[in-house]
Amino acid sequence: MKLARVALLAVALAACKDPAIPDRAGVYAFADTAIIGVDTSVTLFRWPTNRLPVRFWADPRSNMRFLIERGITVWQDQFLYGELRGVVVSDSTSADVIVFWADSVPPDVPPDTTSASNACNGLTTFDYDTTGFTLSGPVHVSLSVLGGSPATAGQVQACMRRVAIHEMGHSLGLLRHSQFDEDIMFGSPLVDYPSRFDRRSVEVLYHSQPTVQPPPP
């Protein structure tokens, strides 16, 4: 009976109240807003659950595929409950997000993280249909080496790692920049990974009701 008592005690102890839901303060604005006359138009986009995994096509040159696979892992790891999944596809015509090198292709060398040099750039473009509330095609992301930058190839690669994650954040629906340089979604990203505020923001985004739909599959 000793064992039975221990078991009953364990049951009683375990049946305590539920833990409190954590506070998620610090979310930054991620939706675009436009005031047209008296109306405020909110552009809130995220990939819906029925469109997962998000299909990324990576420019086959240099180490773009590595950068995108790494970015997918980084963003997936921000979620606790499977809200986002991504995959790299080999056919650009079936991709949701197309990532390519603009201008020059940087060599695939080990990153030099000794300096947070601003050596590269990125641009994410959404194309809308005539309603403005549905994407007309895949999201395009371009990465480029800044012309005239004195950065070494290693510094360019370190920059590309940051900017690839940053631009992929845009392609996932974080449409605006954070005002804080500790966040990967800061205008000129200085950090290597998303911060807790990036995580909270993308979590909130993926539980929010979008106003913009993805392109037809």
């Binding site: 039975a4 221990v6 049946a15 659950t49 606790l80 409950y81 929010s208």
Partner: protein, 211 residues
């Protein structure tokens, strides 16, 4: 299995004594050991209740359960057992808008229990042990599974009174267990306490050896 049908009896007895569950007077060393396997289905309560914009639950899907036990009769009507319980399961996020895939995991639980037969064919079991979640390092398990959680279990067993069933020691068992769940990733997220997880399984059990 040994020729006399006493499958690993000394090992079982040593485990039970080592765990301090019960004391065996020398006169009980001839107790009977039997081997049991069970399969069934298990329901689990919510692992995580959270709210991001809207409230939602993370809950295992209804899943199969596989149990292996070695049971040692201590005296008429009483037996002790050690049980390994393995249950692979999908993980679902339940929101107001629907239910969505959130990964998968397998639980492995080890318990020691004491069983008493109250009336012929009907017995109850109480047990304690530990449970571990095995999963890829994603989602709530991205920083690890949280180690081994203490587990308490209760079960009621009914031996089917049919000749075929008695020959194969067929039993129907309803099993309940409870443990506290939290993972390092949930702590990082801001959860500061674990949550009780209740599991209920209905099992068909088959046995070999002396019962």
């Amino acid at each position: 299995m040994r020729a006399d049908g006493r499958l690993g009896g000394w090992a079982v007895r040593a485990t039970l004594i080592g765990l301090g569950i019960t004391a065996h007077p020398p006169s009980r060393l001839a107790a009977q050991v039997s081997f049991h396997v069970a399969v069934g289905a298990r329901y689990s309560s919510t692992l995580v209740h959270d709210s991001v914009v809207t409230a939602f639950d993370l809950r295992p899907a209804l899943a199969p359960a596989f149990l292996v036990s070695v049971r040692d009769e201590l005296r008429p009507g009483w037996s002790a057992d050690v049980t390994l319980d393995v249950a692979p399961s999908g993980l679902r996020r339940h929101e107001s808008s629907g239910s969505f895939d959130a990964g998968s995991f397998t639980t492995v639980a080890f318990t020691v229990g004491l069983r008493r037969e109250f009336v012929p064919g009907v017995s109850a079991r109480a047990g304690v042990g530990g449970l571990r979640y095995l999963a890829d390092q994603t989602g709530v398990f991205r920083e690890g599974s949280g180690g081994i959680f203490p587990l308490g279990s209760l079960a009621a067993t009914y031996a089917v009174p049919l000749p075929f069933a008695q020959k194969h020691q067929l039993e129907v068992e309803a099993r309940y267990d409870i443990h506290q769940f939290i993972t390092p990733a949930l702590r990082t997220e801001g959860f500061n306490a674990s949550r009780p997880v209740h599991r209920v399984a209905v099992l068909i059990r088959m046995g070999w050896g002396k019962s």
